[in-house]
């Protein structure tokens, strides 16, 4: 990959829960829905497995954006794992805010059946980050 291309295309790391969002991403593939190849997933058993340290690590190592995605509130396979995720990510977002990088972290809920929603969410995030990145580059 050329240097120029690497600069323009954001790298996004997503933490996807095995029971919902990872399933949705598999279904998105089966339905041949297209989304940017910069989006790459790390499978976790539950979104609550995501230690804020993982998010920070991903940013430190060059990710332009990180998302954590799990089942809708109330639908967690582990009953209320995603409520813990929500709290944790909310706290992390405050920290990101302090460094003016709140656009780099997102939390969203995608159920196993919502392949289209998955694609919409990740594409939306990718495009927004890409736009900002290119604006920054021009300045």
């Amino acid at each position: 990959m050329s240097q120029d291309k690497a600069e323009k295309n954001p790298e996004i790391i997503g933490f996807a829960c095995s029971y919902c969002t990872f399933k949705a991403s598999e279904m998105a593939g089966s339905l041949r829905l297209k989304y940017p190849d910069g989006v790459k997933l790390v499978q976790v058993p539950c979104s609550s497995r995501v230690d804020p340290a993982f998010v920070i690590k991903a940013i430190f190592e060059g990710a332009d954006g990180v998302f954590v995605a799990g089942c809708h509130p109330g639908d967690c396979h582990f009953i209320k794992g995603n409520y813990f995720t929500r709290r944790k990510i909310a706290a992390l977002k405050e920290m990101f805010d302090a460094f003016s990088m709140n656009d780099k972290l997102r939390l969203f809920w995608v159920s196993a059946a919502e392949a289209r929603r998955f694609v919409e969410k990740v594409t939306g995030m990718y495009n927004e980050i890409k736009e900002r990145k290119n604006v920054r580059k021009e300045n």
């Binding site: 790391i13 940017p36 976790v44 230690d51 396979h77 582990f78 794992g81 944790k88």
Partner: protein, 557 residues
Amino acid sequence: MKTGIFICHCGHNIKHTVDVKKLSAYFRKISGVTVSEDYAFVCSEPGQDLIKESIEKHDLNRVVVASCTPGLHGELFKDVLRKSNLNPFLLRRVSIREHCSWVGDDIEENTEKARRLILSALYGASHYVPLEEKVVDVTKSALIIGGGVSGLSAATFLSRMGMHVYLVEKEAELGGHVRSLKNVWPIGQDGSTIVANMVKDLESSENVEIFTSATIESFVGFFGNYEAMLKTPAGETKIIVGGVVAAIGFSPFDPRLKPELNYGKDERIVTTLEFEQSKDILVLPEKPRIAILHCVGSRDEQIGKAYCSRVCCINALRVGDAIKDKYKDSYVESFYMDVRAHPKGGEEFYEDTQEKGVLFTRSNIAEIIPTPKGLIIRGEDTLFGETFEREFDLAVLSIGMSSPEDSKLIASLLKITLDKDKFFLEAHIKLRPFDTAVKGILIAGSCSGPKDVEESINHGRASALKLYAFLNLGYAIVDPFVSSVDPKRCSGCRMCETACVANAIKFNEEKRVVHVEEAACMGCGLCNATCPSSAISLRGYVDAIIDDEIGALLEAI
């Protein structure tokens, strides 16, 4: 590290959009990779043999299969490892089909993404340790929640097959809604007779315990060994079951939620259920004028019931049919949106009722206004596009099925999920319509969506058959992905204990450290992410694995 990487072409599926040859050549040069091959169909027998031979020849200790999604053929590849005397948890699957070749069109970009995904799997797998699959005994007994027709048919089947069955019904009598039906379409039989026959069948079986007026207080455990506490009139009873069939039925829609219909304020406005129970004692004039309203509580987004309840059209037709049989000179008008006379013979029955003289008006009903003389029905004729007002002596509301009252309670007890209409959610609506996401917990009957009597019985029996197949094995393999505590690092802050939903973490007062009860651990990893001193790790998803996967995906290693 001796890793074998096997990249599947999946025929044309992967090969056409990912340069597999380039990938396998690339990974041959990576340290720690002993074998890197691409093959047309890794899941085929020659493909499996290729893995097996490579493991034996090169003494591999990690296997990475880059192919379709891990959900597909998961057990197949694990078996290949088992047959080669390698621990099946040293296998890593990468889905380069669903995550690369099918989501992008550019072969160069796809190849790059696939390379990084395989790289992350390679680094992640380097931290894998052999895990022991736990084989647990399965109790050959089942808990059936709900004594309606689907619960009864499930219980009868299971007990006949030799399983011990506990049937829990919250009402005092078995039979659910069917018991109160006077004329079950199309056989014309009394619902209570059908139920009585089913109960007789069940009671004639030896290994059945029926608890009526009983509720479930608590429900814990895992597949094969669930423990439930029942509250019965005789006191509390603890039962151990291998699996569950939840068949808690439905709640009839309450027309009071549509106040414009004035249901409950005038006794001339009744539901189909009430009409059926009281049609013989109903006092009507000699030439009665009767209105039948379809879709009350179905296909109505304003009240959050966008779905079709399937059975209410037939119920509405039966009302018209019954009135025409009793009063030849009656005026019966049915206000419908579409008639979905869905079960076998329904369409013919629809035509019969039309021939008998029931009028069908395609319309939206605005309101029912009770007056001393009669009920005025105001609405819009959607075929003519004009409004109308007509007077009737009786209005029958064909009510739909709503999710069962207890669905939320039972779902949280059993740890299963609800769909947007608060019915129980199937694991897969087409491929696994009886299962839930939890192994050994099945659903039957109208608690997973509106069903008629016949479908409910079928659904009950099918779920029972499925549960029987699970339980009859007598053992179950449990995923070993549970948490473990390093007591040396544990500071005894007990934050994990508060976080653990499964109550699997226990505090040792004497040593001031926690430990995990593996049997209860669900493997979510919340404790792992919560522990401030990194003393807890979730097997198979330890911090090092995820850290290295992130690093490899971003090429920072």
